[in-house]
């Protein structure tokens, strides 16, 4: 954990994870980038649109016996709504993500995966048109089609969703610099037995994430967000 003072308001800013390079000051919403030991204000982050997420910065979950804290969030918008990507910091030093959309929770980790050349070419071709919203995301280069099966690290996944999206904001700390309106193409895949994978393509690169869907109860979430009008999660009120 490392602390700095916000260059804008002087309040303390803590980087909990050594991998975090980016944070939003919780007092003045300044966006802070850390380079070596220097920090720099990049501007002010607009407040995130209200939602009914059950998480907040500081919530904790357990996945495969590893305890994770939710230390940051990126909110992403697409044509038909929003989703949240929560930055996870595990007490074993791992860093991961909790994707949250429509009441589904997928824990996932970035993975190095070498796609066959034709898929790799198709993904690179997509990188060049992430800004072109006139091209429907469904008309990606034909090697990446809905319902096709892709093998990622030995596991088969089916492409179930391809959409254009852009980040609308973030909070907490993040492993990379996030600019609002970062355009991306997001490819969602599902595997057997709750398997989840995602390919995120922006103008510079594409990243591959694999993981699993988990039910709320299985997350063993602590310090969850509380709602005034949802006092009871379980049991009679």
């Amino acid at each position: 954990m490392k602390s700095y003072n916000c260059p804008s308001c002087g309040a303390e800013i803590t980087f909990q994870s050594g991998e975090s390079v980016y944070a939003v000051c919780k007092f003045c919403s300044s966006t802070i980038v850390r380079n070596d030991d220097e920090i720099q204000s990049m501007g002010v982050m607009a407040s995130l649109p209200e939602d009914t997420t059950p998480f907040r910065i500081g919530s904790e979950i357990t996945y495969k016996n590893v305890h994770y804290a939710l230390i940051g969030r990126i909110k992403v918008a697409w044509e038909d709504g929003f989703w949240n990507e929560w930055n996870l910091m595990g007490d074993n030093g791992t860093s991961g993500w909790l994707a949250e959309a429509q009441g589904f929770y997928a824990i996932n980790f970035e993975t190095e995966h070498q796609f066959p050349k034709e898929i790799d070419d198709a993904l690179k071709e997509t990188m060049s048109n992430v800004h072109d919203f006139s091209i429907s995301a469904h008309i990606l280069p034909s090697r990446i089609l809905l319902n096709t099966i892709q093998n990622i690290n030995g596991q088969n996944f089916r492409i179930v969703d391809i959409k254009r999206a852009s980040t609308v904001g973030c909070e907490g700390e993040l492993p990379r610099q996030i600019t609002t309106d970062r355009h991306l193409v997001s490819v969602d895949l599902i595997g057997k037995n709750g398997g989840y994978a995602c390919i995120e393509i922006d103008e510079n690169s594409y990243s591959v994430f694999t993981g699993e869907y988990r039910e709320w109860d299985a997350l063993h979430c602590q310090n969850a967000r509380q709602f005034d009008n949802w006092k009871q999660i379980k049991g009679a009120w």
Binding site: M1, K2, T14, Q16, S17, G18, K26, L48, P49, E50, D51, T52, T53, P54, R56, I57, G58, E60, H67, A69, I71, D80, G81, F82, M89, G90, D91, G93, Q102, G103, F104, A106, H138, L146, N147, F157, R158, V160, D161, E171, I190, G191, K192, G194, Y196, Y213, W216, N223, A224, R225, F227, D228, N229, W230, Q232, I233, K234, G235, A236, W237
Partner: protein
């Protein structure tokens, strides 16, 4: 401290706390207040005042389709909360859906900020709770058979369905009259629903809910729609009626009992066969065939059947002949003047070699009887003298009797098996193939048994 990953971190209490759990904004069409419950999830809402369709993705609501009509009342009003499976749900949306076979059903969208969404479906008085599952299942939406978590599911419904009425808020773009392909798969107690269009395939896993449970959970004061279930075991108050057939775990016992009874019946039958009164020869006559008079009539002396009702067997045996003949016989009850006709064929011509023929009569009352015969066939043209014997036995062995007893014994286990197989489907999908297959199987077995019985009783 750069590498310290400990979690002794407590966020400031005000951090990202909700300012409002519910977003209240106004309709761009009529100006009426609209409450959004699943903020951040819902992207379409129907104005409760004017029924206009709105895009609520952003706080400035966009009008998608203007309307000016009063919202329809639903059995469960929007905003009602209820506890199902120990989780509190709020009803936030309602859709009436129809298929192209004139079926229609209601779907309520349920929301809980921690557990997400569920669909509560009511069709013809039966209730089902569905949850969308993120699983890719081979053949979902095309195959007749699916496998998920080692369970096999059979397809029993397939149609195009569309939304005919909407109310409330939704996390997708609801479009009235938009058509999707719907397939329902079923195993003993679980349902899989697969909805697909060109864009995506959505799989939901469902289970039947008891009407009383729904009524209590959402404190519904109106009468619940009457279930059209034909199954007498699906009664209000029996919880999870579909979960367990009343024959679950009992079928084996029922069948073992039946088999034991069949064995005892076989033993009794065997003892009966060995009794001295069984298969008694009560009359025999040897006839010489008159070669000169083809229309000659032959008659036995009178014989007496005593006791109550008994069965007899008339058998004939051709001796000393290489020809053939047909016997047209009449068994007459001299006491009550009833007559019974029979015909027998005997001979060894054109590949046939039948020296004995048998006719059975069951349930004959006691009394005086006689048999008269006329003959036809090649034996009458023969130059050789021919003879035949006629034997009359009483209380002959009758397998038919045993099969009739066996049929009675098997009736209940067959009925129980039929009810067990059709239990899940009888209530709500009786017109579909699952029930049809089971009932067809039942009737095939039933008719088969009847045919065997008829064959032996003859």
């Amino acid at each position: 401290m750069e590498d310290d990953h400990s979690l002794d971190y407590t966020p400031p209490p005000t951090y990202t706390e909700a300012k409002h759990d519910v977003e209240a904004l106004s309709c761009p069409s009529c100006g009426g207040a609209i409450k959004i419950t699943a903020v951040g999830h819902s992207i379409t809402a129907i104005c409760p005042h004017c029924s206009s369709t709105l895009d609520v993705t952003n706080p400035v609501f966009q009008l998608i389709e203007q309307a000016n009509e009063k919202a329809r009342d639903t059995l469960i009003p929007m905003g009602t909360r209820g506890m199902l499976d120990n989780i509190a749900w709020e009803v936030i949306g309602y859709m009436e859906r129809q298929d192209h076979e004139h079926n229609h059903w209601d779907e309520y969208l349920l929301f809980n900020p921690y557990y997400g969404f569920r669909f509560l479906v009511e069709e013809r008085g039966d209730w089902f709770l569905y949850k969308v599952i993120k699983e890719y299942i081979d053949g979902a939406g095309t195959a007749n058979h699916l496998v998920l978590d080692n369970r096999g599911y059979e397809r029993d419904y397939h149609s195009k369905a569309y939304v005919s009425y909407v109310k409330g808020e939704f996390y997708w773009r609801v479009k009235k009259f938009e058509t999707v392909d719907v397939m329902e798969y079923i195993d003993s107690s679980h349902l899989l629903s697969v909805e697909s269009n060109e864009q995506e395939v959505t799989v939901s896993s469902g289970k039947a809910m008891d009407s009383k449970t729904i009524k209590d959970a959402f404190a519904i004061t109106c009468d619940m729609p009457a279930s059209t279930a034909k199954n007498p075991y699906f009664e209000e108050g029996t919880s999870n009626a579909y979960e367990d057939s009343p024959y679950d775990g009992r079928l084996q016992g029922i069948w073992l009992t039946a088999l034991a009874m069949a064995f005892i019946a076989a033993a009794v039958h065997f003892i009966y066969l060995s009794l001295p009164t069984h298969n008694q020869l009560i009359h025999s006559t040897r006839f010489e065939i008159s070669a000169t008079d083809p229309s000659a009539a032959y008659a036995t002396n009178n014989f007496t059947l005593t006791g109550g009702y008994s069965s007899i067997e008339i058998s004939s045996q051709l001796v000393q002949s290489s020809s053939w003949m047909t016997i047209n016989g009449i068994l007459s009850n001299i006491t009550n003047h009833k007559v019974y006709y029979f015909r027998q064929y005997l001979g060894n011509e054109s590949g046939m070699n039948k020296r004995n023929a048998v006719s059975d009569f069951s349930s004959l009352p006691a009394g005086e009887y006689a048999v008269s015969l006329t003959l036809s066939g090649g034996v009458l043209q023969s130059n050789q003298p021919s003879e035949f014997n006629l034997y009359i036995h009483k209380d002959v062995e009758s397998l038919g009797r045993y099969f009739f007893v066996l049929f009675l014994i098997l009736l209940y286990p067959l009925y129980a098996t039929y009810r067990h197989l059709t239990f899940r489907v009888a209530g709500y999908m009786d017109q579909y193939s699952g029930a049809k297959q089971a009932s067809t199987a039942f009737w095939v077995i039933f008719i088969f048994i009847i045919m065997i019985l008829l064959h032996f009783i003859d």
